[in-house]
């Protein structure tokens, strides 16, 4: 079995030429070996299926997500899987298969809105806070640490109450879920970008830029930001999977999207809770499996990219040149190591614990 792979990082691609071979995911795919590649490919396939289903939902789904009857009359509640309803119908009389398929759209919409919002807000705050420092920086760090340490789901519940009062239309529901997830995610981007910014701003090239009279805005945009976003794609994938889980959690607690507005897996699972005792399995299994497979796919991609970006985890030979770095980002949302302990963000880009 191959031991260590050669280490062309995106920055040091051979000859500096940008071909399709150096595109982010393609590059990692070429870099990976053995099981690592298997995990990455599996993740990409699952994510691909998810995206495909979301985009072509209207063509794939046999019925509308809120359709209760067709030409032959009502569907009936809790009907067994049959040729008309491949996965049966729910207690509310919806077609399970259609709702699972339409659910991918809702999940994708929430992911896109949530990740975009938190990405821009978090990066901007982290950049400004790290670059200028001062009291604003200190306040933001304490605030973000406080939010970071708190259970994400509980905070999302509070925000969901604020935004939608608990009941929502399609757009309102998606926005409510997305924004409540955003609030929880901003600290993650903030911490990483801020730590990088603090490190980079003391580098010689920033000093040089200042000497030749570049404005703060230009330095931040051109010199700091470009160098501070190295690890963000990894957090991005992690947040995508967490967004799905939070959306489902909100739906399960009754703070998601109404069934007439959109299909949402968490809501369907909540409705199926009572079915389980009477042995009705098809209403819960399928939306649940959809959640698991989607999160699994995205997480596999994120983990593999993370491993490949970290030379210590990439190959066996190069492994473990010392203890893992202090700060780690865990899927459960807890911070590990000295970053939290001292109230200061960790070493730049240390999201190491996640990768393993």
């Amino acid at each position: 079995m191959a031991t260590a792979t050669p280490t062309p990082t995106p920055a040091a691609a051979p000859g500096g030429r940008r071909t399709w071979r150096t595109l982010p995911v393609v590059l990692q795919l070429r870099q990976s070996v053995g099981l690592q590649r298997g995990m990455l490919v599996a993740g990409l396939v699952l994510t691909g299926i998810f995206l495909f289903t979301a985009i072509f939902a209207p063509l794939l789904a046999p019925y509308e997500f809120d359709q209760l009857r067709d030409a032959n009359g009502p569907f009936g509640a809790q009907a067994h899987p049959s040729s008309n309803h491949l996965l049966g119908t729910t207690v509310g009389g919806y077609d399970v298969l259609s709702r699972v398929i339409w659910g991918t759209r809702t999940a994708l919409a929430v992911i896109v809105v949530a990740v975009l919002l938190s990405f821009f807000a978090g990066v901007l705050l982290g950049l400004v806070s790290g670059y200028f420092g001062g009291w604003l920086d200190r306040v933001l760090v304490v605030v973000c640490d406080a939010i970071y340490a708190f259970p994400a789901l509980l905070l999302s519940i509070v925000v969901a109450i604020v935004i939608s009062g608990g009941q929502s239309s399609l757009l309102g529901g998606i926005l409510a879920a997305a924004i409540s997830i955003t609030v929880v995610f901003i600290p993650q981007y903030f911490r990483v970008v801020r730590a990088e910014t603090v490190r980079i701003k003391s580098e010689a090239f920033v000093e040089s830029a200042r000497v030749i009279g570049a404005s703060n805005g230009r330095i931040m945009a051109r010199h700091v930001l470009r160098n501070a976003t190295r690890t963000l794609p990894l957090i991005l994938t992690l947040n995508c999977s967490e967004a799905i889980l939070t959306l489902a959690g909100l739906g399960f607690l009754g703070f998601g999207i109404q069934p007439t507005a959109a299909a949402e897996w968490g809501y369907d699972l909540k409705q199926s809770l009572a079915d389980v005792s009477s042995g009705i399995w098809w209403t819960s299994i399928f939306p649940g499996v959809a959640i698991v497979l989607t999160v699994l796919g995205i997480t596999l991609v994120g983990e593999s990219l993370n491993d490949l970006a970290d030379p210590r985890l990439r190959g066996r030979r190069a492994a473990g040149d010392g203890p893992p770095p202090a700060g780690t980002v865990e899927p459960g949302g807890a911070v590990v190591g000295s970053g939290l302990a001292t109230g200061m963000p960790d070493a730049p880009g240390a999201i190491e614990g996640y990768s393993a």
Binding site: M1, L35, Q36, G38, M39, V142, A146, A149, F150, P151, A152, L153, L154, I157, V158, V159, I161, V162, G165, G166, L245, A248, G249, L253, G254, F255, G266, L269, L273, V276, S277, W281, S284, I285, G288, I291, V292, V295, L296, T299, E303, L313, R316, A319, G320, D321, P323, T328, E330, P331, G332, G333, A334, V336, G337, L340, A341, G343, G353, S355
Partner: protein
């Protein structure tokens, strides 16, 4: 509960501080002091955030009863509760109440929130203890195996298992377990903390702890003990697996770190037996930091507990929170969330102390 946890926490700083001062000029003492002082802004920020977020939509009485009461009666209720005062005035009186340990009174059943914690806290604690136990038993050995078999089949399998633990929401894994073990095989009960007979029996116990296993043992009834344990299996596994995935990957990363370190290499070249090498040289130093990390899983545990308790009708804080959410009783929600913020801040502080005591590098 909040007051009882504060005291041992602050108490333990006292004896530790002078000892450290002798060695390295007050490193540990001042570190602990800073950590202790940081509790307050953390609680303050979370409580403030929750307060203003909840008030952004209007007052909780209108939210709960709006449309069900005539406008003038509603207005009177709002006035009585003081929700028509300026927001700032409400905010400061709220802060004052919290400083006195008053987290508000629920609207739907008119109970002080602290009282809700007293009644349902023990159930949540019981579930948390069992779940951590499951997480330990599953996560740590598997993490050791994954690290040792690094990049081989078992490692890949275990890593996918860890991701699955994380990717499966507790309400879905709970439903699956129910379908298989309760409905399908009929081995375990579907929901609840105990069967009705046992619950009545336990409620007769004078000054019950509400920690059902302890109560059942005090009762000395082996049937009750069995019943309580049977009810606990599925919820504990559901919540435990969620955390086990986190433990597994943490142990794996740490052990990979120590396995590649110079002193393991040195020991191996001296001819130390492989099993001894693993036990003494690789595993032990890797597990010490994990002990402290475990405390930080309280956030994951709390979030998961809300979902697990709802799935299994385990009548703890999380289940109660979900009930209040459905009843649109936002005073109760705000109170419970604020209370949990205090618990999270205190737990993190205690964990930091343990971390600093175990590992001198943390405190610098």
């Amino acid at each position: 509960m909040t007051t009882t946890t504060t005291e041992p926490a602050t108490g333990s700083t006292e004896p530790a501080a002078p000892a450290a001062r002798r060695k390295n000029g007050g490193g540990l003492g001042s570190y602990l002091l800073i950590r202790f002082l940081l509790i307050f802004p953390t609680i303050f920020i979370l409580v403030t955030t929750v307060f203003f977020l909840m008030r952004a939509t209007g007052d909780p009485i209108t939210a709960a009863l709006g449309g069900r009461l005539p406008a003038d009666q509603l207005q009177q209720r709002v006035h009585e509760a003081g929700y028509d005062r300026p927001l700032i005035a409400q905010y400061f009186s709220y802060l004052g109440d919290i400083a006195h340990g008053d987290f508000g009174t629920t609207l739907s059943d008119r109970r002080p929130v602290v009282d809700v914690l007293k009644t349902f806290g023990a159930a949540s604690l019981e579930l948390a203890v069992y779940s951590l136990l499951v997480a330990f038993i599953v996560g740590i050995p598997l993490g050791l195996v994954a690290a040792y078999k690094r990049d081989k089949g078992p490692d890949a399998g275990l890593r996918v298992f860890a991701i699955l633990c994380y990717a499966t929401p507790p309400f879905f894994s709970g439903l699956l377990l129910k379908l298989i073990f309760s409905v399908g095989l009929g081995w375990l009960p579907v929901a609840g903390r105990a069967s009705t007979g046992t619950e009545i029996e336990l409620s007769t116990l004078p000054n019950a702890t509400n920690f059902y296993l302890i109560d059942a043992i005090r009762l000395g009834d082996s049937e009750a003990i069995k019943d309580v344990l049977q009810h606990a299996v599925l919820p504990s596994v559901t919540l435990g697996l969620l955390v086990a995935g986190i433990f597994l990957r943490l142990v794996r990363t740490n052990v990979i770190g120590t396995l590649g370190s110079g002193y393991v290499e040195a020991a191996r070249s001296r001819g130390v037996a492989e099993s001894r090498l693993l036990r003494k040289h690789a595993y032990r130093p890797a597990l010490i930091p994990i002990i402290t990390v475990i405390g930080l899983q309280i956030a994951a545990l709390l979030g998961g507990a809300v979902l697990t308790e709802t799935t299994f009708e385990w009548k703890g804080l999380g289940f109660q929170l979900a009930q209040y959410l459905t009843a649109r009783d936002f005073v109760a929600v705000q109170g419970i969330v604020a209370l949990l913020a205090v618990i999270v801040a205190l737990t993190n502080f205690i964990v930091d102390i343990i971390a600093a005591l175990i590992d001198p590098r943390v405190r610098y």
